[in-house]
Symmetry: C2
Subunit: 401 residues, 2 copies
């Protein structure tokens, strides 16, 4: 049984006309003989509206109750889409997270999928029904309603595709994955395909098309993904494994992230225990550290710079203050005025000199780099935000993005 899992995002089902459009597209696909499982998000910004009601009732609404509240958004979408489909003669049935037994573990409002009981889905597909599944929601082993946090509906779709051995089509309001966000660089090219590792780097670097966690599941279970615009007006981008060296391009994409802050500690004791304690302290506060750069020791003292989400800056500084009780005083500088530029590409693994090319281009354009980190398929550097658009253009031209 060849199954396709489709996912339609909040803007694709944002009003009744759009829901009708989506229904027509599903019907057309169904008529080609496909077995369809369709995951939908809540309509438009309805989740935000629910959240804002909760916040007006309580500064700290209980996460368990937030999940009960927020899961209604997707439940409304699945019912309406199913009604629209049946109305045009396409047999469909809707299912909540509880009904397809999408079992989660972990905390309310940011649960993780533990398992999905696919027997209901197979039964419905056998009856020639389109199976409409509420994204973003599940149920934990205590029979409590849970939600999956950011990117939850993508995660539902990819996990379902993994479990069903299906391909996963993500329909959204952008028409594919671009080498660079076209909002930053209008000449950016749409990619025909990108592989999981590159997409994961791009996603975690702020290319907002898909959440990195859904790409990670796709990668782990080798689920082919197709990202396209929900109106179907232009071809999208495949995200899939590709070990072929058919790609001659070294760099697949460029991502810019303007939401980070940089912290530099100067005069920090050159002691591996203290260094590890520094980063452990931040990890315990659930702060994601991205770039880390460390100087060679001078007089048993070092400087360490690292980037964190700007929102976490206060918590991070408090954690560092605490650390001084053990390490003795050190000097802390913060820089909230940074832009993080990253080039990503599998080609880097086999081709040397990419970093050199990137830095020469930046140097030729008089762009100062603050810190640099490199991984196997990514090079990142932070620059002054005022240089951002100049840097993006220069790198795009150099690497033909």
């Amino acid at each position: 049984m060849d199954i396709i899992v489709q996912k339609y995002g909040g803007s694709s089902v944002g009003d009744l006309d759009r829901i009708k459009n989506v229904a027509r597209r599903i019907k057309e696909k169904k008529e080609t003989g496909a077995k369809l499982v369709v995951v939908v998000s809540a309509m438009g910004n309805s989740t935000d509206e629910l959240l804002s009601m909760a916040r007006r009732l309580s500064e700290k609404p209980r996460p368990r109750e937030l999940d009960v509240l927020m899961s209604t958004g997707e439940q409304i979408s699945i019912a309406l889409l199913s009604i629209a489909l049946n109305d045009i003669g396409c047999k469909a049935r809707s299912f909540t997270g509880h009904q397809i037994e999408l079992i989660t573990e972990g905390f309310h409002t940011k649960s993780k999928i533990a398992d999905i009981n696919t027997s209901v889905i197979y039964e419905e597909l056998d009856k020639d029904n389109v199976v409409i599944v509420a994204g973003f929601q599940g149920i934990n082993t205590n029979n409590e309603i849970t939600t999956l946090g950011r990117g939850g509906s993508d995660t539902t779709a990819v996990a379902l595709a993994a479990k069903l051995g299906a391909v996963c089509e993500i329909y959204t309001d952008v028409d594919g994955i671009y080498t660079i966000d076209p909002g930053l660089y209008p000449n950016a090219r749409k990619l025909e395909s990108i592989n999981y590792q590159e997409m994961m780097e791009m996603a975690s670097l702020g290319a907002d098309v898909m959440h990195p966690r859904s790409i990670e599941i796709a990668h782990n279970y080798n689920v082919p993904i197709y990202v396209a615009i929900s109106t179907g007006e232009s071809p999208g981008t495949f995200i899939k494994e590709s070990d072929e060296i058919m790609e001659k391009t070294v760099i697949t994409g460029l991502a810019v992230d303007s939401n980070d802050a940089m912290i530099t500690v100067n005069g920090f004791p050159y002691n591996i225990n203290f260094i590890s304690e520094l980063f452990r302290g931040l990890a315990e506060k659930h702060i994601n550290i991205d770039m880390i750069s460390q100087t060679t020791p001078v007089g048993n003292r070092i400087s360490i710079s690292f980037t964190i989400p700007r929102n976490d800056l206060d918590i991070a500084l408090k954690s560092l203050k605490n650390l001084e009780k053990k390490t003795g005083p050190f000097n802390t500088e913060t820089d909230t005025d940074i832009a993080k530029l990253s080039v990503v590409g599998m080609g880097m693994r086999t081709q040397s000199g990419v970093a050199a090319r990137m830095f020469s281009v930046l140097a030729e354009n008089d762009i100062n780099i603050k810190i640099i980190t490199t991984s196997e398929i990514r090079i990142s550097c932070t620059i002054d935000p005022k240089d951002q658009s100049k840097a993006v253009s220069a790198i795009a031209k150099e690497f033909n993005l």
Copy 2:
């Protein structure tokens, strides 16, 4: 364990301020030591809004999907109320119909409660939590979301109270049960108490405070009900068994129903098979017949008059047309311009002459009666709507309502 089941209707939780008010009232009650189970309806007219979306997508939305859709209204209310309660330090947890295992049978959008698994509720009450239950919804044995139709949340509350051996407090936007709808007769008295049978007659006759089916359950399981305004500003009315003859009043209340139509068939064959076929045909179309009056036969022909909901008139006439194939032709008259006046009271069982008093009063006021029916505790007659307010005042004075 003394448990109170409270139910708050849609207008009582119509906006966030009202939800906060309800939360405060629940907290006060909780602090008296009560174990509380609270049933809530959907906020304001949100169910109608959901229904209207469905209708814009399809002329005949699938009932199964309507249930998935409409049940979200109550789910939103329970989450918000629980958030508001926890915010003011009153421990509460919300539960959907599925989570408390409120099992239903029958059809989607008009299911009946088959059973409720109270173990979850007892567990939560033992932990000193207020248990917030979504009204109007359940789940059938196929694990499908169902709703209970009109008066569904009242039914949920009364059924829970029956199952838990609790009293049931219905908080609504009216402040109790009146002898007559105060909108029709401003001098109507609020009743301190009314018994189940009387309330059932009043409810089915259009006193819109509670749906007759919830009263029926209360009667069957002897659940004491207290109906009051949700702001708590004035005492309400008890609905309970009362065999005591302490009530000196013969008539408890007067109800007016303006939604009926009257059908009269003239020259109908005087044949019990045809007569029963007439009413069976209407019953098969789910048409509720209220008053029936039949003349004595003249030349083996009779006239029969009966009232039905005005909305069902077309279907009823079609059914009668069909019957003529068997009975031969008869003449059918319809009258959509009628008001049905009913007086209800347990006292009638023991006191004679009530009907006579009622008809003299109407006669003295030159009010023509079209048809009359009587039951053990009720006398109904249809009159011209233009006489309605005169009739209401006259009867109210005669019986001191």
